[in-house]
């Protein structure tokens, strides 16, 4: 990506609702996610207020300062605070351009810098989601294995591939 098409991360707010609706209403985007496509602006605003804003770490993925997706990392407590789970979503018009790979690298670097206790960023990807698996491989994550029949997504039980990036593996 050159200077004219800069990828940056920033907080996502209710003011971003129109851009949010672009990916949040798209069934292609929602396919491997736990949520159903949003159907109204009110619904989207409520989601941003109740889920996005209070999230421990969630950023809009911006192209030239306009949100085209989002990336998040969970926060654990106690013995599990060494790890956080990353998730991301991108408007389908921008798929296949390396944008999420770039956002993943930026987000991992930020989260390791902000949280001293973090040693591991992990991500669980549906076995059938080849695009997302390639993102993580290109971002330098290690594929640790397939967790069989690991979780229920939209009423169906799924095999999930576990990836992780350790603090010691962070590269520019």
């Amino acid at each position: 990506m050159d200077q004219e098409n800069e990828i940056t991360l920033r907080k996502l707010t209710v003011d971003d609702v129109d851009d949010f609706m672009v990916w949040a209403t798209d069934p292609k985007v929602a396919h491997f996610c736990s949520w159903e496509p949003h159907t109204s602006v009110e619904d989207a605003i409520a989601y941003i207020e109740n889920v996005v804003v209070p999230h421990p770490w969630l950023r809009a993925i911006c192209l030239n300062n306009r949100p085209i997706g989002a990336i998040s990392v969970t926060s654990n407590s106690g013995a599990d605070k060494c790890r956080g789970e990353m998730g991301y979503v991108l408007a389908s018009a921008y798929w296949g351009k390396g944008i999420v790979t770039k956002a993943v690298k930026i987000a991992a670097k930020m989260v390791f810098e902000e949280r001293e206790e973090m040693e591991r960023v992990e991500a669980l990807v549906d076995v059938e989601n080849g695009g997302s698996q390639r993102v993580l491989e290109k971002a330098g994550f290690v594929r640790e294995g397939v967790l069989r029949k690991y979780l229920v997504q939209k009423g169906r039980i799924r095999d999930m591939v576990m990836f992780s990036l350790l603090r010691t593996e962070l590269r520019d």
Binding site: C82, E122, L147
Partner: protein, 190 residues
């Protein structure tokens, strides 16, 4: 050892002496999140407040005397499809295949008693070879190593992840198919 002497049953308050014997042994407790139990009072309270109300914990017994435990922690909500298993036995009984027998006995009981369970998982620190051998002998599948996954007593651990999927006996064909069909209608196979 005659394997009919090995049984699983819920804990009882009268297990307190036997519990203290293995519960106070650092070698037994070290790989667990538990802290060692040092007094009769602690043992009694632990049995009463933790073991008895536990969603699924059984005493591993020889001649009905407690020599260890097996626990299963089911998930809630959508995570009811999976559960985590843990176990330990007194050092006196290590290396004799007893834990393997006990876990083999526990697996079908757990699937029967947790109706939404599809995936029984267990993780062990990668250096815990004995525990990995138990899981492998019982038929758990090693899926991978989760690196720097959690802290255990101040040390960050790489964990080996193992799982055992529900087996349904297809009566007509008389074969076992692993994890491809489910008894609960809420989980159609993907």
């Amino acid at each position: 050892m005659d394997s009919s002497r090995i049984t699983l049953r819920p804990f009882k308050l009268t297990d307190v002496d036997d519990f203290l014997t293995w519960g106070s042994d650092d070698q037994v407790i070290r790989p667990l999140r538990w802290t060692t139990i040092s007094t009769m009072e602690e043992a009694f309270n632990f049995i009463k407040d933790v073991c008895i109300p536990h969603p699924w914990r059984r005493s591993i017994c020889i001649d009905d005397r407690s020599i260890g435990f097996i626990s299963v922690f089911p998930g809630s909500g959508d995570d009811r499809c999976r559960a985590d298993m843990g176990y330990a036995i007194a050092t006196k009984y290590w290396g004799q295949g007893i834990t393997t027998i006990a876990v083999k006995m526990a697996v079908p009981l757990v699937f029967k008693e947790l109706p939404d369970l599809v995936r029984l998982q267990a993780h062990t620190a990668i250096e815990n070879k004995a525990s990995q051998r138990v899981l492998e002998k019982v038929g758990f599948c090693k899926e991978g190593v989760l690196r720097k996954y959690t802290y255990l007593k101040g040390n960050i651990k790489d964990l080996a992840m193992y799982s055992f999927l529900i087996k349904i006996v297809t009566e007509i064909r008389g074969e076992e198919t692993e994890g491809t069909q489910f008894t609960m209608s809420s989980y159609p196979s993907a």
